[in-house]
């Protein structure tokens, strides 16, 4: 079985609610995107600074649009197209000012490796979420707490926490789109 069918299988499982399969898929996508984005940016003579932001924005788009993937078609080309869309979008938003021309092909060799731990623009974007959303996002990701835990603390139902998280993610994607570096 090739990786395309594998990813498709993982996404099918994820859409049925399998969280472990979804995590695995997102991990593998993040790695594949990181390599692909680095290659594309290098070919355009751009630095590595944007890579992790583009990876994160692509994962967010995959997540929010996953219901529109037609599972009778292979998943990999769809995911690739979503990443490509985000990459193009970001380059257009970034404009020419961030263009870093290289006059020597050696430059591509000494570019630093992309850093998966890089925070990038997302901190700036998180800062623009409203306080309640930022608090929720931080609790569920950085602090690694469960939705039930957050629900107990805030007195909201677990369902309400889930709805709030989904709204926060949509808002995050919208803020990314509006962001002009």
């Amino acid at each position: 079985m090739d990786s395309k069918d594998r990813w498709g299988g993982l996404m099918r499982a994820a859409r049925l609610g399998d969280e472990a399969a979804y995590r695995l898929l997102l991990d593998e996508l993040a790695r594949a995107f990181r390599t692909a984005v680095r290659t594309r940016l290098a070919r355009m003579g751009r630095g590595n600074a944007d890579i992790e932001d583009i990876v994160q924005e692509s994962l967010l788009a995959i997540h929010l649009k996953r219901a529109t993937w037609d599972d009778t078609r292979p998943f990999a080309p769809w995911a690739q197209a979503v990443m490509s869309h985000k990459l193009t979008d970001r380059l257009r938003r970034g404009g020419a000012t961030r263009f870093e021309p290289i006059d020597d092909s050696l430059d591509t060799l000494i570019l630093p490796e992309p850093d998966p731990d890089a925070a990038g623009d997302v901190e700036r974007i998180l800062a623009r979420l409203d306080p309640a959303q930022r608090r929720l996002v931080t609790a569920l990701s950085l602090e690694g707490r469960s939705a039930a835990d957050v629900a107990a603390e805030t007195g909201a139902s677990e369902g309400a926490v889930r709805v709030a998280l989904h709204r926060a993610l949509k808002r995050l994607a919208a803020l990314y789109r509006e962001d002009r570096p």
């Binding site: 529109t68 769809w78 869309h85 998966p116 990701s141």
Partner: protein, 213 residues
Amino acid sequence: MKTDDLITLLARDNPGVIVDDRTAPMRSLATVAAASLAVLVVFLTLAGPRAGLATGAIFAVVGLKLAVTLAAVAAGIVLARQLSRPVGSSATLLWLLPAAVLSGFGLWETAMLGTSGWQARMTGTNALYCLTMIPLISLLPLAGLLVALKARAPASPALAGAAAGLAAAGIGASVYALHCTEDSALFLAMWYSLAAGIVVALGALAGRRLLAW
């Protein structure tokens, strides 16, 4: 936030089972059909159908006009569906389908009436009304199509919006054709096309803003 943290966050946003979106196109079509029916009823109530719509000669020529406008509806809907995905190709030639049907209509008209007086047929007598009403009638169907596309992930939001504009213009023109008494293919080529162009441009502009994802 690191990518790993984002992945944790995304995995947590788990609504249980996500129903496959394959029924979405049918639901969208139903919405657009409802919007079309609404504008049809409102427009024909306010402006009224043309006299003798159901009688022989008029029925035939209205049928010819509808062949052109419904070709735009079909082409626009198929294109919008193809362009609603981040990946894949669209049948570019479909953009020309309405013009192709209109050319056939024009040839038939030339064979019937010859070329004398073509200027008068093209200019018509109520061009400005046509140019106003077709875009106006198209607005509601256009909104319905854009809402349907909003749930998708079009590679080019502007192009997908333009396709929605073509379909909406076709719907608007079909409704208007039941009232309009200009029966020349030349009038359609000049004024209906211009009106459709306005709606397509509107769709592209709206698409660029509203369908970005």
